[in-house]
């Protein structure tokens, strides 16, 4: 059922995009073109660039009644503390044309050395996040091959170093920043923690852990694989068209392994991606372009998941479909963005339960074929004649929809940014969070014993682009 429905929704969204385009205008940067192409006739052979993001965060959440913490109350990727400094991103890349006389071929390479879900846990100090070549030979159909960002939501597709907030929305973090199940069922035997931790082979739960247990080395992040980082290895056909009256229409169609930034395709299935946008350009160039953009997208894939608590490898294939649409307006001094996303299948519920989060407990339902949705609205005000910017965002996500353990995550983020120069800024965010299990009953009562303590979070991040 879900397989065709998500794509139909994406196509309907695309049609609406075009309809809206006929009626009006707006802009944000064209990330397909900015990330996949170079300026023809004016690109370097090898342009070295990168950025560093260093931050401090503090989470004010309270432990549960027995002093235990769940992932939502801790800072990633380690999930063992409530405050601290981190180099959450440190990336260096090279991009250009390779053979500058021929503008028809360009490349893009990027390496991540920061401490985040991409690099955490795999033992390497660096991880390749992008390595692609674009062939610009066929008018209207550029071909990009390799590892790169998949065409999808604005929050995921845009360059993270110009993102106006420290953390993603709950919707993007929970539904789009994919976590991949471990290859085998993950229990918690051999854990170094002791009572009162609730952990057994039949539940597969890990934690909650007390502060002492976390300081003693207990780990709540049990994933073996890096996050998907909104990327895939595959091939994409895309282009942008000037259709007159300052309108630009862009499209992208991609097929990929469906394995994030890792290179295997062990299930033999391929993810498909479709994207369409229409944008009225007001002016500007590059990441700071101004205008009004409407966009719609869809992603369709399958994932292997082993839910049985034994040593037998018997993974089953489940659908993973995502779709969304949105609008972004950018004309200084104002910016407004709104997105809506739906998710069908492979709804994860926590890093402490890499496989079990799909749960084999029929009383809780099965996240492997559950549904979720979310949306956000955000706005920014670039205070004229100053270097200051004020930002505000409301986001909400509902996961395990219509299940007895349906969760809702609401969050307000208030932000201030100071731009030292066009490439260096400091961002201050204050998050007000309200997370709960929304269905009356024993299951949600137990969940809310932990979620009710989730409180506000504050963060300061310095971004330097070079």
């Amino acid at each position: 059922m879900g397989e065709n429905k998500q794509f139909k929704r994406a196509l309907i969204g695309a049609a609406c995009t075009l309809a809206f385009a006929a009626a009006g205008t707006a802009h944000a940067a064209n990330w397909l073109m900015l990330q996949g192409t170079e300026d023809p006739g004016a690109a370097a052979r090898a342009n070295v660039w990168g950025f560093i993001q260093a931050k401090y965060e503090k989470d004010f959440s309270d432990p549960n009644a027995t002093g235990g913490f769940v992932p939502a109350k801790l800072l990633g990727p380690e999930l063992d503390a409530q405050d601290g400094f981190n180099i959450n991103r440190a990336r260096i890349g090279v991009r250009g044309t390779g053979f500058p006389l021929d503008s028809r071929i360009n490349y893009f390479v990027l390496l991540e050395m920061g401490n985040n879900g991409i690099t955490h846990g795999n033992g390497a100090f660096a991880r390749l996040t992008d390595a692609s070549v674009t062939l610009n030979y066929i008018p209207g159909a550029r071909v990009r091959a390799g590892l790169f960002k998949t065409p999808g939501s604005e929050e995921g597709l845009q360059a993270i170093h110009v993102f106006d907030y420290i953390n993603f929305t709950e919707m993007t973090n929970g539904l789009l920043l994919e976590r991949f199940p471990n290859k085998g069922f993950t229990g918690c035997t051999g854990a170094i923690v002791t009572a009162p931790v609730t952990c057994s082979a039949t539940t597969g739960n890990v934690g909650p852990y007390t502060e002492a247990q976390l300081q003693g080395g207990a780990g709540l992040n049990r994933f073996n694989s890096p996050v998907g980082a909104f990327r895939d290895v595959g091939v994409q056909v895309f282009d942008a068209f000037d259709v007159g009256n300052d309108w630009e229409v862009s499209y992208a169609a991609m097929i990929g392994n469906g394995n994030g930034i890792e290179f295997s395709n062990s299930d033999g299935e391929y993810d498909k991606y479709l994207y369409l946008s229409a944008e009225k350009k007001f002016g500007g160039a590059g990441a700071k372009s101004e205008g009004l953009k409407f966009f719609a997208w869809g992603q369709q894939g399958k994932r292997l998941l082993d839910l049985t608590n034994d040593t037998t490898a018997n993974a089953t294939s489940y659908d993973r479909d995502r779709a969304g649409l949105g609008v972004k307006y950018m004309k200084k001094p104002f910016r407004v963005t709104a997105e809506y996303v739906t998710a069908d299948g492979m709804i994860w519920t926590g890093p402490d339960k890499p496989n079990f989060y799909f749960t084999n407990n029929t009383a809780h339902g099965n996240g492997a074929d559950a549904k979720a949705s979310g949306w956000y609205v955000e706005g920014g005000w670039y205070i004229p004649n100053t270097k200051w910017e004020l930002d505000a965002r409301f986001d909400t996500m509902t996961r395990l929809e219509d299940r007895i353990n349906e969760h809702q995550f609401d969050k307000w983020t208030l932000g201030v940014q100071y731009h030292f120069n066009p490439k260096t800024r400091v961002t201050l965010n204050y998050e007000m969070r309200d997370f709960e299990c929304t269905v009356a009953g024993a299951v949600c009562t137990a969940v809310n014993n932990n979620l009710k303590g989730v409180d506000d979070k504050i963060g300061v991040q310095l971004t330097a682009i070079f």
Binding site: P40, G41, A43, A44, R45, L101
Partner: protein, 148 residues
């Protein structure tokens, strides 16, 4: 006496005619007083925007018709005058304002050999046999040489 007066009248009229014609003759032969040749041969893409900005600034500094600007490109800088260059519209606009673009024929030959096909040039660019020769000729004619 009248005979002398007639001679004086004829000489005076001739002198007046010659002096009136002299400025017109001078203008037709000399052109604008200020002439600039801008040179680009760099691989650095930022030099493309810089040279176009320079050309625009020079045009803006003088009344229309009182300055001549020619941009000569050779070597890697010839990319500025490729048909698909991202700055193609700016070249067109500057050309309509009177800026002349000259592309080095020697460089085109070299690029053709390297690429296996001739590069497609912006139609506003004229081809000169040698870019560096063209620059030398223009400097010899009194052009001010600028290399951003």
């Amino acid at each position: 006496m009248f005979k002398h007066l007639r001679s004086i009248f004829l000489v005076t009229s001739s002198l007046l005619l010659v002096s009136a014609a002299a400025p017109a003759l001078s203008a037709g032969q000399g052109g604008p007083e200020y002439k600039y040749v801008l040179h680009i041969s760099d691989m650095d893409p930022s030099k493309q925007e810089l040279i176009l900005n320079n050309a625009q600034n020079v045009l803006d500094a003088y009344p229309p018709g009182e300055v001549e600007v020619e941009i000569v490109a050779y070597g890697p800088g010839l990319r500025l005058m490729f048909a698909d260059n991202v700055n193609a519209k700016r070249l067109d606009s500057l050309a309509q304002s009177g800026v002349k673009f000259s592309a080095c024929g020697n460089t085109i030959k070299g690029m053709t050999k390297l690429m296996g096909e001739a590069p497609k040039m912006n139609p506003t660019a004229g081809v000169v046999p040698g870019g560096i020769i063209r620059i030398g000729e223009l400097v010899h004619q009194g052009y001010i040489y600028i290399k951003p």
